[in-house]
Symmetry: D2
Subunit: 337 residues, 4 copies
């Protein structure tokens, strides 16, 4: 950490800063310029980070040098992590596509769509049993019943299943019945939920919050890892900006950025990012080209009747066609799908 | 709801849209222009809102006319609501200031600061027992112990107390021991927590999320009200923008906007919005001038040693001086503090 | 245009709105619901768009149906436009890469880099003679001298050249000496400059502003086209968001969105979007995959010494390697480079 | 400037950085930690700022310490500047309100409104002769004729007049006929226009761009000052965010922030910020409370018929009432209006 003093800071002020640095177990290193003195704090920054050094008298700015996350960083582990379960491992050469309806609506529909996305090449069935809806009057999901249908679909098709966790009280249920546990964008900083996810070993798909920086996303991943579960898969799904043609703005740069900053796998959700069915194909292709380890795509047998997110859902046939194209692109890029 | 068809939509497509509208219990009303046909759906929009009409063949755009929230709207209740408990009622002529440390750090400190903010004119002591921290390595709060200290401070000083709820499993504890339950910005769309808050009668202080529109905030309030608890106090605390001099950007327009759109009280948190001690005064004055019903201000006996948010905390003396100024401004504005 | 009245609007208020609509040459069409009356204005919206209908007594909302731009829209021209000059035509099967230094620094360097980017497959040399720098103390470009060097580089290599116009007084000079005239992001709403660009026939590369929506970008293109120059090439170069790892956030969705909304070609500038050399490759691949018609890439012989934007510039060898990869991807996507 | 090296940077890499620092006339100061070496560059940062140090081998981050602007900073001039002309001086105890129509529409209307705003207490008449309109089909202003009418209104009423400059070719005309020259938000980074404004002595009202940080705004002011004109008045008029209830988001914190960072006066434009007539009053009050030196308010005799920005314009009577309230608030705040 570097503490930049104001021009004209007094010796007493400088001494006070030095004292704080030493009390936190770091070694101060002074550099006196013509105008200002700068103090480097050498050692482990984490103890200092909790101190409000910027308000000490005489201090102008405090600059952090070390990243605030550790275990999820590339410095901590230089090789990419390959994370998953039951043969569906993300982060290696093989790409995976998770597909299915936004919400589990009934057993037949779910099993029908599961067979179709499997036939098209998806390896994970996604479907919401607990639905985070912005309106209290919208369909909130089948809850435990939906989880049961997911387990049924898994049994019938052999697909692994992924669903969203919204409440710590449902963790046990999901841990028992599903293969991937998803944390939605609106819960990315629900720190209690993150901590709880540290208590299981199931891979957690952590979606980026609508106003979360890449650093925030990695800190949220650190919460899960630091609490005991190293199996985190990141998911870019669009951030909130002033652009309103799309539902959100897919931050495609986050894919290579995260590959540089972290060893964790990163997938992309083109359905929520664009919010429009016709954008799913170009955004999926772009995601693969940018280096994503997989995709999460909404597919519904009849989007017109979908209880949630119909406008951004592909039909099974459209999904199958897209998968063909993605498979060829993956091969072109030296990966497999 | 208004459904705008594409130029050249066929009669079959028009009929299909009409069918959907009627099936949802609304009455279609056609208007044929030279280029396009437009269909108004007359009746209760809420049934239609869950249908993805925009992807029906021939449809170009769908425009919503009714607001997606009801019970929190001014149409539902034209008079401002006055909400609170135990003599601290927000939304009327009298303004209230909630003050205290970001985090409850220990019993002595809390009671000390409680006495000071009370002497200065605050009516509610705020202090976090459960702390939502972006880093898993930062101080996470004293939890249940902190709640106990809040209850002690209440007993010693007579101040009401407010603290943040992060987990549905803690609701019972807070409902028993504190007077105002706060939902933090990062949990504004933690829908399970919102629903749970509908099951109690305690006033809920709902903070605006970092990327939440005013409409989103009102929808989150609607969650609580629709689930049974009409006692919601809104709190503007800054949104995330590209500006980085401040921690967040205080959306001062949200105060009069919410007064127009909703009957709920609205308070402002200048400490989190600006993230800088020297901005607390001007932002507090601006908030009152814009019509806020109260303020939530961080005060710490020794900000240099604060375990959380030191840079934005006032010292007790600074707070007392500010309160003097706010009291005079309130009187000038025809309100009381 | 649709005018939604407030519940309880009086007949006099309704008549007043109707009068305004008729005065603007449109035909009103009433639809009376239980709660509200809605008036559709049938005919050419443009006359109405300049009227502040939303403040007429009794009016609640005004919804626009027609797009505010015409000549650049897909409705106006359903086939994609192929725009360019001297064999470099954008918008067709063939992709083009424009490459070169951020700023023209001297004659030798420019001709050297021109030869290298040509050898690698670029068809246009880009280089700033007039530089829009945020600091008045930064290098502002060689101005007219820089334009002369560009003309020299063109003569020596046969590459076409592109440079930025910042001032209407320089248009004649650029029109005489360069092949593509660029309007920078910060001038996207410099309406006088846009109008002036309507007076020439040279293709204009219009970069998206940092806070411009896709609609704003298309309206700025409309300015040029409506003033007489149909040759506009759009360029996505990143928008400003809260994310700070990258210089800007590349809005990759803008590429397919613009393909749907407009007939104009769209290229991507991965150098300015990411602001980091290591992001140029993944963002370039993503841009092609998303359907871009070309790229604009910064290349500098010695980025360490660049007078502008060194951190995001590729070295010539890195550019040549990237071009190889882009050429293969273009072929895979059924295009040519 | 501080250069943070990567863990494991070689001695050759360190030497290379030192060489660059020395070549730029600064003195390097090394600080070797356990993990990393950090180099402070002591001296004038401006020479270093143009070098892309972040891409030198072995460099991890470059941190700037000095502000990129000088002459507009508080360090350069610790006392607030009082800037204006002909008795209308901004930045002192006395506040000023500039009022008038968005666009000059005709002579009679302008003189009529001038008399009314003068009677209400405005000291400057604002009105656009050259209008920056996002649509090429919208009214573009009366241009030179509009400037003449402003001069007439000035003669008739004694009010000073302010109007916007959009093109360097119009500067002479405005310099001759108006008292304050305005640079609009969309031209805040039209650097040629800024430079040109440095060649006159008229006070320049510089509006903040829609995606400009406070630092960007100050750098744009620095352009004008560094080019010879010290008379710059800053104007906060809202930034672009995801919130869509308001036209823009008024960044009220910018007022006290700019007071801390710069000696220049700062005024607020509540009309453009909110884009809604009913927000003008609360935002004006908030601006004064936050410390603004003045306001710029749109007033139109008949907003329903305004050729530009009708929805946000006050009627003269509404303006007079607001002025009464502002005058009382100014007195309360220890200022004059």
């Amino acid at each position: 950490m570097i503490i930049v003093l104001k021009p004209g800071a007094t010796q007493a002020e400088i001494d006070h800063v030095i004292e704080k640095i030493e009390a936190a177990g770091c070694k101060p290193h002074l550099s006196r310029g013509v105008e200002r003195t700068i103090i480097g704090a050498i050692g482990d920054e984490s103890a200092l980070r909790n101190l409000p050094l910027e308000i000490l008298p005489g201090v102008d700015q405090v600059l952090q040098i070390q990243k605030p996350y550790k275990m999820v960083s590339r410095e901590f582990k230089t090789e990419p992590s390959v994370i998953g379960t039951g043969g569906v491992m993300l982060g290696g050469k093989r790409l995976h596509v998770m597909a299915g309806p936004c919400a589990v609506e009934n057993r037949e529909m779910l099993i029908g769509i599961a067979k179709q996305v499997k036939a098209a090449g998806a390896t994970v069935l996604r479907g919401g049993a607990f639905k985070p809806r912005t309106s209290p009057y919208a369909f909130q999901g089948l809850e435990a019943e939906g989880v049961r249908y997911l387990a049924d679909a898994r049994e019938e098709t052999g697909l692994l299943v992924a669903t969203e966790l919204m409440d710590p009280r449902d963790l046990e249920l999901l841990d028992r019945h599903v293969d991937f546990i998803q944390i939605g964008a609106r819960n990315m900083q629900n720190f209690r939920l993150l901590k709880e996810c540290g208590s299981v070993k199931k891979p957690i798909i952590l979606k980026r919050g609508l106003s979360a920086t890449i650093k925030d996303l990695l800190l949220s991943a650190e919460y899960i890892v630091a609490n005991g579960n190293p199996n985190v898969i990141l998911c870019e799904r669009g951030i909130r900006t002033f652009e309103d043609y799309t539902r959100n703005t897919l931050d495609i740069s986050a894919v290579p950025a995260i590959k540089t900053l972290s060893h964790l796998p990163i997938i992309v959700d083109p359905s929520h990012a664009g919010g429009r069915r016709d954008l799913v194909r170009p955004l999926s292709l772009a995601a693969l080209a940018a280096g994503a380890d997989g995709l999460m795509i909404e597919v519904h047998p009849n989007p017109e009747e979908a209880l949630s997110d119909g406008p951004q859902s592909l039909r099974p046939e459209g999904f199958a066609t897209l998968m063909e194209e993605l498979r060829r692109l993956a091969a072109f890029l030296g990966r497999e799908l």
